[in-house]
Symmetry: C2
Subunit: 417 residues, 2 copies
C-alpha cells in the first residue's frame, strides 16, 4: 500500500459538478435541523451499560474532558443513585469546569431527582417507560400515574434552577395518543424540551426504521426533540439523521456506540454522516481530528478493538484496492471518496498488491519509487504482480520487490545489449 | 453473567399488544418489496476488494456453498478478466451445482463479457460509471458512447442465453435525466432488470441517505431494481431497507460487509433488520442459524475479528446489564429485545456483575444457584455486589462468590443462634 498526496478538491465542501442540474441535491426542508444539531454524549451513561465497561474515576474524568474539548454540547452521566461511587464521580465531573453541560439520567421519581440535583449537575433527564411492554413488565404504572409523578418531579427540579428533560422509554412501541397527551402535559409544565431519550423519541429496542422515525418526529414538531437510537438492526445512524431532517434537535451518541446490547448511534459514525450532510457546521463545531484518539482511549478502557469496518477510523476506511477504483482515485479522490480523510487527520492508501490490482495504481507506485517505465512496461510488471497475487497474499514490500527486480532486469538488458 | 430460559412470546412474530391501536404499525405500501426481497451475495466480488482479502479456490468454494445453503438467490464473483486464477475459479464455482445462481461482474465491454460467458455463469452484471466524476476521471466516455456499447454487449450476452444486468456506478451523483434516458434505452434492449449495482441505484461512495434512496428508487418504479450501498457514512442497512420500501427488489450484501474501504450492507445486519420488518418471509427463506458459522468462517479467511458491536453475533448483542433492563427482560424478553436470539441459535445473558446491577437480576441468579432468600436479603447482597463493582471489574464468579458467602453467613447465624 502506498500513501498518496494527490491534491484535489474536498469532495465534501467542493461544489459538485452536477449541483446545478442534479435533482438529488438535498432540498432545504423547513423542519430540518441537520445544520444545527446538538450532541448529548452518553458514553458515561449508556456506555456504562455496555457489557465490558468498568470506568474508574480517572477514566471518567479523562473521557469527559476529551468529549468537552471535542465540542459536544452535553455529557450525560450514570444516575448517582446507581452506587456510592457513581454519586461521587458525578460530583467530581460537575466540578471539572468543562465547556459541555453535565447531565445525569435518572428514574422519574423524587428520590432520584433529589440525589441528582445534590450532585450539582446542569440538567436532569427523567426517564420512564411508556410502551405497554414496559408499563406491564417493568414499573407497573399507569399513564395517569406517570403523568402525575412526572409533573411533581419536573416542578421540583425546575425550582432548583436545574434544566430538566423528560424522556419516555420505548417510544416507538408506545401508543401515539397516550404519548402525545403525556408530552402535552409535561410541555405545559415547562420542560426545556421534549426528550426521547431512552425514549421520548427513543428507540430503546433498536427496531425503528428511518421512515417510522421521520413520521413520529414530524408529528412532534414545534418543540425541541432529543433522539436516542439503539443499533440492534443497524439503523441507528440513519435514524438519527432522519430524525434531524424531521425536526429533532439533539442526538444521543456514545463513543464507538457502546451501550446496552450492541449499543447506540456511534459518535464517529454520526460524524461521518454529518460531515457529508452538513459539512460547514460539522467541521466548524467539532474537533474532528480528535476523533481517533477519543475512540482509541475508550476502546482501551473497555478492552475492545476498533471494529475493522468502523466508519472513518476502521483500518481500511480509506483504502482503495480494485484497479478501476485506484485509477480514478489517483486522478481525483472525489471519484470514490465521499469524505476527505484529512478532515480527520487521516490519509488514504492505494493497494497495489493483489490479483485485482490495475496498472494505473502500479504506475503511480513506480513513479513514487523514482523509476521511469513506459506504459507497456508497467502493464508487464502489473501482470507479474497479479500472477503472484493469484498465488498468495502480498505485502507492499512484495510488490515493490517485483518492481525493483523488473527495473533492474531492464537496465541489465540495456547494459548487456 | 447468567443465561436465562424465560419462556415468552417471540417479540418479532407475536402480535403486538398495541397492534390494534398503535399508529406506528407499518402501513402496507403498494411499492414495497420488503416481504419478497432477494439477495445478491457479493462476498466473492465486492468482498474480494476488501483490503485483507485473499481467497484461495478452496475458500471460495466453501463460502459459495455455505451462502447457497443459507438461501441467497445469487452469488456474485470477481470478473474472470481480473487474473488467470479468477477465470479458473469462476469456472470451478459454476460447476459446483449450487442452488444459488452464479453471476460475475464485468466492465461494460465486449471482451470482458465474452470471457464471462465462457466461464458458464448464469448471469453477467455489466458495470460502468455514469456520474460526471467517473466519466471524467475513470473511463472518459460520454453517455452516448456508454449507451451504444451497453446495447451491443447486452445483445451479445442475451444471444448466448445468459441473464444480463446493467449497472450504472455512482448513481446518486449521476444526472437524473441522463440516467433515466440510459435506463430506458437499456430496458428496451430487454435487460432482465435495472441494476444499480456498483450503481444503477448504487451508492458507490456511501454518501446516500434513506430519503434520497426512497426518492430515486420510487422514480424508477415498474422495473426490477437491484441496490448496492456502501457504508462510509453508516447508512448501508437503512438505505437497503428504504430501497425495498420504495420498490427495489434485490439487495447486494457481503458477509460482515467486507468490500472496498469499509464495505457494503452486511448480510448479518440486513438479516437483523429484515427479521424485524418481515419476519415470516425472512425466517422461512433463509437458514438464520447458519449466520454465525458463515461470519466466523469468512472472518477467519480475511483475518479480522467479528466487530464487538456487530448486530446479532457481536459478543454482547443479547447481553442486558442495567438493573431496569434486566428486571424487565426477566419478566418478558420482548421488553428490551426486538429480535429473539433463538432464531439465530443464540441465547441471551443478564449481567449481574456491576455497579449498575439491580436486585431483580440478582434474585434470578440466587434462584438459579438454588438458594431461598427474602427480597430484603437479596437487596442486601445486591448492595455488596455493587460495592465491589464500584472498586473493580467483576467476573460472574465474583458475584456468585458474594452470593455463596452471604448465604453461608446467614446459615451460620442460624446455627450459632
Amino acid at each position: 500500500m502506498c500513501g498518496t498526496d494527490t491534491e484535489a478538491a474536498n469532495p465534501v465542501t467542493a461544489p459538485h459538478p452536477n449541483s446545478a442540474s442534479s435533482p438529488y441535491q438535498r432540498v432545504d426542508d423547513y423542519l430540518s435541523n441537520v445544520s444545527r444539531y446538538k450532541i448529548i454524549e452518553s458514553t458515561l451513561r449508556e456506555g456504562e451499560q455496555f457489557s465490558n465497561s468498568f470506568f474508574t474515576t480517572e477514566m471518567k474524568c479523562k473521557i469527559a474532558t476529551m468529549l468537552s474539548d471535542f465540542g459536544v454540547d452535553y455529557i450525560e452521566l450514570t444516575s448517582p443513585v446507581s452506587s456510592p461511587q457513581s454519586y461521587e464521580d458525578c460530583k467530581t465531573i460537575c466540578k471539572l469546569g468543562l465547556k459541555s453541560k453535565i447531565l445525569t439520567h435518572v428514574r422519574c421519581n423524587m428520590d432520584d431527582a433529589k440525589k441528582a440535583v445534590e450532585c450539582g449537575v446542569d440538567g436532569v433527564d427523567l426517564v420512564i417507560g411508556t410502551s405497554s411492554f414496559l408499563r406491564e413488565y417493568s414499573h407497573g404504572k399507569s399513564m395517569e400515574l406517570i403523568q402525575k409523578t412526572a409533573l411533581e418531579v419536573i416542578e421540583y427540579v425546575k425550582s432548583q434552577g436545574v434544566e430538566v428533560r423528560f424522556s419516555s422509554e420505548d417510544s416507538f412501541r408506545s401508543d401515539l395518543v397516550e404519548l402525545l397527551t403525556l408530552y402535552k402535559a409535561v410541555d405545559k409544565a415547562g420542560v426545556n424540551r421534549v426528550v426521547d431519550r431512552n425514549s421520548g423519541v427513543a428507540d430503546t429496542v433498536g427496531g425503528a426504521t428511518p421512515r417510522m422515525v421521520y413520521d413520529l418526529i414530524r408529528t412532534l414538531r414545534g418543540v425541541q426533540i432529543e433522539t436516542h437510537f439503539h443499533d440492534d438492526t443497524g439503523c441507528a445512524v440513519a435514524n438519527a439523521l432522519t430524525g434531524l431532517e424531521a425536526g429533532a434537535t439533539h442526538i444521543d451518541t456514545s463513543v464507538l456506540g457502546i451501550g446496552e446490547r450492541n449499543g447506540i448511534t456511534p459518535l464517529g459514525a454520526l460524524m461521518a454522516r454529518m460531515v457529508v450532510t452538513s459539512p460547514e457546521y460539522t467541521i466548524s463545531k467539532y474537533k474532528l481530528k480528535m476523533l481517533k484518539d477519543i475512540e482509541e482511549y475508550v476502546a482501551s478502557c473497555v478492552q475492545v478493538n476498533i471494529p475493522f469496518n468502523n466508519p472513518i477510523t476502521g483500518f481500511c476506511a480509506f483504502t482503495h484496492k480494485a484497479g478501476i477504483h485506484a485509477k480514478a482515485i489517483l486522478a481525483n479522490p472525489s471519484t470514490y471518496e465521499i469524505i476527505d480523510p484529512s478532515l480527520f487527520g487521516l490519509t488514504r492508501y492505494i493497494s497495489i498488491t493483489s490479483r485485482i490490482t490495475g496498472w494505473n495504481a502500479v504506475k503511480s507506485r513506480v513513479q513514487q519509487l523514482g523509476y521511469t517505465l513506459t506504459d507497456d512496461q508497467i502493464k508487464e510488471v502489473t501482470a507479474k504482480i497479479k500472477q503472484m497475487g493469484d498465488i498468495r497474499p502480498l505485502a507492499v514490500d512484495d510488490a515493490d520487490s517485483i518492481i525493483h527486480s523488473y527495473n533492474l532486469a531492464l537496465h541489465q538488458e540495456t547494459v548487456t545489449a
